[in-house]
């Protein structure tokens, strides 16, 4: 009974004791939420910039390789090596070239995302039914019109799946960007890596960001593919 009382008392006190006992402290979290704002937006910036650049490059490569199939294998090999290289190693291998900072982190994150995005765009194009393409050609579409009006829309589910994977993975990897001298939630996490409240808030925000981006891309896909809803 006295033990329970002691526990109740402890909770009644201000956040100070909770912090020194390394607990999960709602008071501390509320008081210190502002210290996560900047790292959070840094994290958003790193993720969105990297995925956007990665998508632009991967999509360009996929368009190039779509009509020239022999390019697929070498592109997959090169992006595969970039995907295999550990991001932390890439941060420091880039040190002599780009120094420390956002640029270095973004180059490493882009390099990592290329394989995921390229594979999915190519898979999307491959899964377009031959009948649809034939129908398009029969209607007199040129190869270019066929690409933008038939193949690309029908490839959207795979392309969007690739974007979702790339976005969530990049959120996770951007947590290491602080090692490259960029900010992000990883810096906030590492600032007090043994303090439970800090680990939960910084880690939790990263997971929330990943889930939010995932849902946003899903919603975007829903909005731009009305024919998929009409079919079911």
């Amino acid at each position: 009974m006295s033990e329970l009382f002691a526990q109740l008392q402890r909770r009644d006190r201000s956040g100070e004791d909770c912090v020194s006992e390394n607990g999960i402290c709602p008071d501390w979290i509320v008081d210190n939420l502002d210290r996560y704002v900047d790292p959070f937006w840094d994290h958003v910036y790193l993720t969105l910039t990297s995925v956007a650049i990665g998508f632009a490059i991967a999509f360009g490569l996929a368009l190039l390789a779509h009509r020239r199939r022999w390019l697929v294998a070498p592109i997959v090999q090169v992006t595969g090596i970039l995907y295999t290289l550990p991001s932390v190693a890439v941060f420091f291998l880039l040190l002599p070239l780009t120094g420390r900072g956002n640029t270095t982190a973004i180059i490493a994150l882009v390099a990592y995302s290329l394989l995921i995005l390229f594979r999915n765009v190519i898979a999307g194009f491959d899964n377009v039914p031959a009948e649809s393409k034939d129908a398009g050609r029969g209607m007199g579409l040129t190869e270019n019109q066929l690409l933008w009006r038939v193949e690309l829309p029908l490839a959207l589910p795979e392309i969007m799946a690739g974007l979702r994977i790339a976005a969530t993975t990049t959120v996770g990897l951007a947590a290491l960007a602080f090692l490259a001298g960029a900010g992000g939630l990883g810096a906030a996490l590492f600032a007090d890596i043994n303090f439970r409240s800090n680990v939960l808030v910084a880690g939790g925000l990263a997971v929330l960001l990943a889930v939010a981006l995932d849902l946003m891309i899903l919603a975007f896909q829903w909005a731009i593919t009305p024919w998929l809803r009409a079919a079911t």
């Binding site: 390394n22 595969g80 090596i81 295999t84 290289l85 550990p86 991001s87 932390v88 190693a89 890439v90 941060f91 420091f92 291998l93 040190l95 002599p96 070239l97 594979r119 898979a123 491959d126 899964n127 589910p157 795979e158 799946a161 994977i165 969530t168 993975t169 959120v171 996770g172 990897l173 951007a174 947590a175 290491l176 090692l179 939630l185 990883g186 996490l189 590492f190 890596i193 043994n194 303090f195 439970r196 680990v199 939960l200 910084a202 880690g203 990263a206 997971v207 990943a210 889930v211 995932d214």
Partner: protein
């Protein structure tokens, strides 16, 4: 011009750090060269332990779920959630919440959790994509469920299963690099303790870690090819352009 020279100089110095030990930046201790071997050993040990735990959990569960056809939702959820949790947050979580456990085990368990989703997903999809005709034929021959899993589904799923193990291994090797942040001295130590090892140590250790990841990828790819049943290889050659996973591919993303 001078930038190019500085660039070459940095990498030359890094290679010198990898092959010859030197005095640390702060003086006193020796770093680099053969001093890297204990770090390499810890790196391999933590990777091996994490992979053993992950395979022991994910493989039986993936095979069982794939065989029964249940648990697609659970499998997808695990792999999605697994991707969203940053590795450093998971390691920090274990270190902060289990302070009395040795750091090595905290890191090994955190890495094992990171390694589980790709193995689980690939084992599940690998078994699901086995032709129902082959399974029916085996059942018609009087095989029990366990025999079907062992003699039909497992061999035919092996290429994808090894794909998952390969991806996880490379991922764990990469993530073990940040273990020194919580006191487990892997090859990431020279990278993270830049003040002790200097720029050459940071770049040199990065080269070693990158080489380790690439070797693991190439080695396990060779194993993956070796365990692919000849029949599956022939079938792939014949239908290389046809989508292999059909509708499953749209719902569950496997790794190469």
């Amino acid at each position: 011009m001078s930038a190019t020279l500085a660039f070459l100089g940095d990498f030359g110095d890094a290679f010198d750090y990898i092959f010859n030990s030197r005095e640390s930046e702060a003086g006193g201790a020796r770093v680099g060269g053969s001093e890297l071997l204990p770090l390499l050993w810890t790196h391999l040990k933590v990777t091996g332990v994490a992979m053993a735990i992950a395979i022991a959990i994910a493989l039986p569960v993936g095979l069982a779920l794939g065989h029964s056809g249940r648990g697609a939702f659970a499998t997808i959820s695990v792999s999605n959630v697994g991707r969203a949790v940053p590795s450093i947050a998971l390691i920090a979580f274990f270190v902060a919440f289990f302070p009395s456990t040795p750091e090595f085990w905290n890191v090994a368990v955190a890495l094992a959790l990171l390694a589980i989703p790709p193995i689980l997903t690939n084992a599940y999809v690998g078994v699901r994509q086995v032709s129902r005709d082959a399974v029916d034929a085996a059942r018609g021959m009087g095989m029990s469920s366990i025999q079907i899993v062992r003699s039909v589904e497992l061999p035919l799923a092996l290429p994808l299963i090894f794909g998952g193990i390969k991806t996880s291994t490379v991922n764990v090797i990469a993530t073990a690099t940040i273990a020194p942040l919580v006191g487990v001295l892997t090859l990431g130590d020279p990278i993270i303790s830049g003040t002790v090892h200097g720029r050459a140590g940071q770049i040199g250790a990065s080269i070693v870690v990158a080489a380790l990841a690439v070797f693991a990828e190439l080695g396990l790819s060779a194993v993956q090819r070796a365990v692919t049943p000849t029949g599956v290889k022939l079938e792939r050659g014949a239908s290389a352009r046809a989508p292999r996973l059909g509708t499953l591919k749209r719902r569950i993303q496997t790794v190469p």
